[in-house]
């Protein structure tokens, strides 16, 4: 975009000066062009193809510690066993569903992973394919909370609770109501509603205050009442870790997996599943409807459900196994919320959530916006 608003034309006779200026101008233009090109570069999502003979499975993953754990535990074993290649594309559940809706099988994905119950909506819209019980034998031996009807069951469970700084929060919190303690004014953090933990927070605050799926007012009021204590609303675990780590906040609502990781890193944090109830949610892998690699995709799902892989995954990422045959070693059973504790938790009603997500989000945003 050239600027034409010159004020005064250089007088003749100052030719050399003008030439110098022109070259300086050209230099500026070149710098600007390079700058724009560099700042405009983005990373693109999917990759295609593979070597001759080796098939490639394109799988979405959530990034962060979750993706690292999958790369460490699940993918190498799968590639070795089936002589295939897996390419992980980082995409959170919401955007993954958006992409499926917009492009379906043309999205290029073979498998999408969801953590917020999006498989319910994706199933209703026929964006994901049911799994064949014969192709995924491990699906038969999962706990009740992991079952998804004709679709692939969850391969790991996560739960929403309160992560707290053990040095600053005494006594340890036990209930959602402890978030309202006036001693923690401006020192509480909540996950954003775009994150499953955030949605669960609203869901639970609504439930314990007498609301229901069709009456969210008690939940909204509860979030509004929490405002004086609320410092920040984070979208991801990394931000939560930073806020809790540098002492900006003392209590953070998030998932048990991250609590486990923080303790692994040696941070002085505790995790509590509130006694007034909380939600457990499953992490699922789903075959994209129309994928040419559906057979291979089901093999990956089956492998993720295998007891030994689940124990290794629990060790690496802090999620609870879903296969009843997966037995955690004692030390792990102590740091992870054990299955008996998770079994008392309820599962959010997927149909209600997917029908109301937009309306809840809009209201939530209005409440937490500064």
């Amino acid at each position: 975009m050239a600027l034409r608003s010159g004020s005064a034309v250089p007088p003749t006779g100052a030719r050399r000066a003008a030439d110098r200026r022109r070259s300086a101008g050209a230099g500026l233009a070149a710098l600007l062009a390079v700058g724009l090109a560099a700042s405009g570069c983005t990373s693109s999502g999917t990759a295609s193809g593979g070597d001759e003979g080796t098939r490639t499975l394109i799988v979405t993953s959530f990034g962060g510690s979750f993706e690292t754990a999958q790369k460490q535990v699940l993918i190498p074993e799968f590639e070795k066993r089936y002589n295939a290649k897996v390419e992980l594309t980082t995409l959170l559940s919401g955007p993954a569903l958006a992409k499926l809706k917009a492009q379906g099988a043309n999205s290029g994905f073979d498998v999408v992973q969801f953590s917020g119950g999006q498989e319910v909506e994706a199933g209703t819209l026929n964006l994901i394919a049911p799994v064949d019980a014969a192709a995924v034998p491990n699906a038969a031996s999962v706990v009740e909370q992991a079952k998804r009807g004709q679709y692939a069951p969850a391969f790991a469970l996560n739960s929403t609770g309160i992560i707290y700084n053990t040095e600053k929060v005494t006594p340890a919190p036990t209930s959602w109501n402890d978030l309202y303690d006036t001693r923690y004014k401006g020192r509480v953090g909540l996950p954003d509603i775009s994150n499953t933990s955030g949605l669960n927070t609203l869901y639970m605050l609504n439930q314990i205050n007498g609301g229901s799926g069709t009456n969210m007012k008690p939940g909204y009021d509860a979030v509004r009442r929490l405002m004086p204590n609320l410092h920040s609303v984070y979208r991801d675990g990394a931000t939560m870790t930073q806020l809790l780590g540098d002492g900006t906040i003392d209590m953070a609502v998030f998932d048990s997996g991250y609590a486990y990781l923080l303790r692994q890193q040696g941070q002085k944090v505790g995790f509590v599943l509130p006694k007034d109830g909380s939600l457990v949610y499953g992490l699922t892998m789903n075959v994209v409807a129309g994928s040419k690699n559906a057979d291979l995709a089901q093999k990956l799902i089956d492998l993720a459900l295998e007891p030994q892989i689940q124990v290794e995954f629990a060790k690496a990422a802090g999620y609870v196994p879903t296969n009843t045959g997966a037995t955690l070693p004692d030390d792990l059973a102590q740091t992870l919320p054990v299955r008996s504790e998770i079994e008392r938790l309820s599962v959010a009603d997927g149909a209600v959530v997917s029908a109301n997500r937009a309306a809840w989000t809009e209201e939530w945003n209005k409440i937490v916006a500064k």
């Binding site: 975009m1 600027l3 034409r4 608003s5 010159g6 004020s7 005064a8 034309v9 250089p10 007088p11 200026r21 300086a24 101008g25 230099g27 500026l28 710098l31 600007l32 390079v34 700058g35 724009l36 560099a38 700042s39 570069c41 919401g94 955007p95 569903l97 958006a98 809706k101 917009a102 909506e121 819209l125 954003d192 775009s194 410092h231 920040s232 609303v233 984070y234 979208r235 931000t239 930073q242 540098d246 002492g247 900006t248 997917s354 029908a355 997500r357 937009a358 989000t361 809009e362 945003n365 209005k366 937490v368 916006a369 500064k370």
Partner: protein, 292 residues
């Protein structure tokens, strides 16, 4: 007749080199924008599903205090950024136009580097500085917004946005200041004006159209700022661009997102129209008018 055909041929030939870039613009800008404009008038049925035509999306944005406030916040951020870049950019542009050669090189590098850095990396840099125990909070001390530094504050977003848009302001002002006739300055000082007096009575008024042009350019760009508000502002500081992302990617309300996008583009086009108008008006007559 022959001559006419030749002239027509020449005109066609002149258009020919532009064909690739025009095609590119048509495919990657005009067509998608047209689709967005059409989508903005569709009815939102459920996540990702659209129905018949309606103007509800625009009514909602322009009547709901939440969305209206968000548009207002975007415009306020853009306005503040324009003022801040003008204040910070003027001395830099002045030094670029008048300073010694080595200073030009140093300033150019300093000013241009933000443009060459990925916006994500640049924002992370600010996040480190703005953190609770970061350098900025320590140095700024009482100016900082509480003990938490400038993260998740409007001030933080403003500073980081001004940083990235400063080059637009500096380059615009540099163009104007560089073309300013130096004999006018000499004449003023010959006639007894001080340096300061000359600056305020000659240089500044003559470069005013550059200041306005730069501010409009920065304003138009800042209304659509996304990465910086998203990373520095966090979830509680929402502007139009981050809301468009939220509506389109997380909530799949494409009609509402499109309507907000159409409004933003309209604001940008309006700003650009003023910009072009000012550039044309002052192109030849500005300086002579003042001299006369």
């Amino acid at each position: 007749m022959t001559a006419g055909r030749t002239r027509g041929g020449a005109r066609r030939a002149a258009w020919l080199p532009l064909a690739p870039v025009l095609t590119l613009y048509a495919i990657q800008f005009v067509v998608p924008m047209a689709l967005v404009a059409v989508t903005s008038f569709r009815r939102h049925e459920s996540a990702g599903q659209m129905g018949g035509f309606t103007t509800d999306n625009f009514t909602k944005i322009l009547q709901d205090p939440y969305y209206l406030g968000m548009l207002g916040r975007s415009l306020l951020l853009a306005g503040e950024t324009a003022v801040l870049t003008a204040v910070l950019g003027y001395p830099i542009a002045y030094a670029l136009a008048r300073g010694p050669r080595w200073l030009k090189v140093v300033l150019l590098v300093v000013v241009m580097v933000p443009l060459m850095t990925s916006s994500v990396v640049r924002s992370f840099g600010w996040m480190v500085l703005f953190a609770r125990d970061g350098l900025f909070s320590t140095l700024a001390g009482p100016l900082g917004d509480g003990p938490a530094g400038l993260m998740y504050t409007s001030t933080g977003v403003l500073v980081a946005t001004a940083h990235v848009l400063l080059p637009f302001m500096v380059l615009t002002l540099y163009g104007v200041l560089d073309r300013l006739n130096p004999t006018l300055v000499h004449a003023s000082m010959n006639l007894g004006a001080s340096r300061t007096g000359t600056f305020f009575r000659i240089t500044l008024p003559l470069s005013m159209n550059g200041v306005v042009a730069g501010m409009l350019l920065v304003f138009a760009t800042a209304t659509s700022a996304f990465v910086t508000p998203q990373l520095i502002g966090g979830t509680r500081y929402r502007v139009a661009a981050t809301e468009i992302y939220e509506q389109s990617i997380n909530l799949l309300n494409w009609p509402l997102a499109s309507a907000m996008a159409v409004l933003l583009v309209a604001i940008a086009l309006l700003t650009m129209a003023v910009y072009t108008r000012l550039s044309r008006d002052t192109g030849g007559s500005g300086a002579t008018g003042i001299i006369g």
